[in-house]
């Protein structure tokens, strides 16, 4: 279970995550919000890239930034950047080496590259990869340590329709393997399709957390989302 308790992040006087409290215990959870809502900041705090100004994030009772916990998580940043002169295979090996010895793990890397659909480009330098291939490699490196928890920041961005379908199938597969997946997205159709629960974030505040169907209450997700955000805007002083 992932617990956010009064999580706050501020840059000088600008508060980007505001007293965020939430408990999540479902296979696939989606953070939904506009660009700049605070989704990426929350994810970066979960994986220890940013320190919260206040509050805590615990996973199964331990602080999420603890090195022991990091062995159990996989993270894919938004618009992933890589070492351009490395090949996809080399990057996976390097990522895996940071978790421990890698002798005999080549079949595992090959399996991952097949899973995300870039096996044929495994020995090409990353600088030759398209945006979609980079997304796929970012996904593969997040899986390299067989993580229990996956945090994916806009994982379907830049993928073509077939790529999106394939990646969604991979996420559903991870769900069936018993892993927990958290994803940030602003693409509502993806959320509707694969998430068990969602958290609606707007200007750093949690506006809703729970099931997608309950949230929609018979309305299309896009319409309901817009309604909730606009309602919040009206209530602001």
């Amino acid at each position: 279970m992932v617990d956010f308790s009064h999580l706050t992040k501020a840059y000088k006087k600008k508060v980007v995550v505001d007293d965020f409290t939430l408990s999540v215990d479902v296979p696939i959870f989606g953070f939904l919000g506009q660009n700049g809502a605070g989704k990426t900041t929350i994810m970066k705090m979960i994986v220890g890239l940013l320190a919260p100004t206040g509050g805590t994030i615990t996973i199964d009772g331990a602080l999420s930034s603890h090195p022991i916990f990091k062995k159990k998580l996989g993270y894919m940043p938004e618009t992933p950047y890589f070492y351009e002169h490395m090949t996809g295979m080399e990057f996976l090996r390097f990522s895996d080496e940071l978790f421990g010895p890698t002798r005999g793990r080549t079949p595992h890397y090959e399996g991952l590259l097949k899973k995300v659909g870039i096996f044929d480009a495994r020995n090409a330098q990353i600088r030759t990869y398209s945006k979609g291939m980079r997304q796929r490699l970012g996904f593969a490196q997040a899986l390299v340590n067989d993580p229990e928890y996956l945090f994916l920041d806009e994982p379907l961005d830049g993928l073509d329709p077939i790529g999106r379908r394939e990646m969604k199938a991979v996420m559903m597969g991870l769900k069936h393997e018993g892993r927990k997946v958290f994803l940030n997205t602003h693409i509502l159709a993806d959320v509707e399709e694969i998430c068990d629960e969602v958290g609606i974030i707007h200007q750093g505040k949690l506006l809703y957390a729970g099931g997608v169907k309950e949230f929609c209450a018979g309305m299309p997700l896009e319409e309901r989302f817009t309604e909730v955000v606009e309602e919040h805007e009206k209530q602001r002083p």
Binding site: P77, F82, H85
Partner: protein, 254 residues
């Protein structure tokens, strides 16, 4: 400790694939071999060959150290590759030390390549095995490692371009700072002015401590105590710079 080694190894692997680095090393080698041609035409005497060779190697290694130190670490942060690494069980200390050691290995490799070319040219000019020249190159390597540590330290809080400016400035000051104190005393400066010069002397690294070129050119061995002092000086200065860099980097929002 293992992760430091993994990052260092990866840094070495990546940097040796960089075409800019290749270019600098190739120019360095061409320069050393050009000496061979120059030696037969103009230089004639072995000390001149040594002088041109060691100065050339120093110059090219300084460019390599400046290039590596101001770009490699900064790029990882700026281009967000560090996100992948730091979200794994890798501390910021391990990442920074790993990068530094990796760059030191790259510099060791380029120094070794240029040293082999130099030793070959000196031997061809009937100078035999120039052990003192090799020692001078080793001292240059120490200086460049310190230079790298300074560049990484600056990269933790400034852009790549500004790192080049600061690091070049320190490189220049590091070579004149000891002379500054002597000149200030000769000029009879006192009070606040002398204090200011002395502050500069203690803050900036005294890179002249690593200069064994003049001795090597005239085939004079560097005294052991001077060698030991330079080693200790480099070690302490590098540790202080890395400590400060880690302190800043651990507090930096990336």
């Amino acid at each position: 400790m293992r992760n430091i080694f993994v990052i260092a190894k990866n840094t070495l692997k990546l940097e040796v694939r960089d075409k800019i680095l290749y270019g600098i090393v190739i120019f360095g080698m061409l320069y050393v071999f050009f000496m061979l041609f120059l030696a037969q035409l103009v230089l004639k005497e072995l000390p001149m060959v040594r002088s041109f060779g060691l100065t050339g190697i120093y110059f090219f290694n300084a460019i390599i150290a400046l290039f590596l130190g101001t770009t490699s670490f900064f790029k990882d942060i700026d281009r967000k590759v560090a996100y992948f690494i730091l979200s794994k069980p890798v501390s910021r200390l391990q990442f920074l030390i790993g990068k530094f050691l990796g760059l030191c290995l790259v510099l060791l490799l380029t120094s070794a390549i240029l040293a082999v070319a130099y030793l070959g040219v000196v031997a061809y000019e009937n100078g035999g095995f120039d052990a003192l020249g090799l020692l001078a190159i080793a001292m240059q390597y120490l200086e460049m490692s310190l230079f790298l540590a300074f560049a990484i330290f600056v990269s933790t809080f400034s852009s790549s371009l500004m790192s080049v400016v600061y690091t070049s400035g320190v490189f220049f000051l590091g070579h004149v700072v000891s002379q500054l104190v002597t000149d200030a005393q000769k000029m009879g400066l006192g009070g606040f002015q002398l204090f200011l010069v002395k502050v500069l002397y203690y803050i900036f690294p005294n890179l002249e401590k690593f200069d064994a070129r003049d001795l090597a050119i005239h085939a004079v061995a560097m005294p052991w105590e001077q060698l030991g002092l330079a080693l200790a000086y480099a070690a302490v200065y590098i540790l202080l710079l890395l400590f400060a860099a880690i302190w800043i980097f651990e507090r930096k929002e990336i």
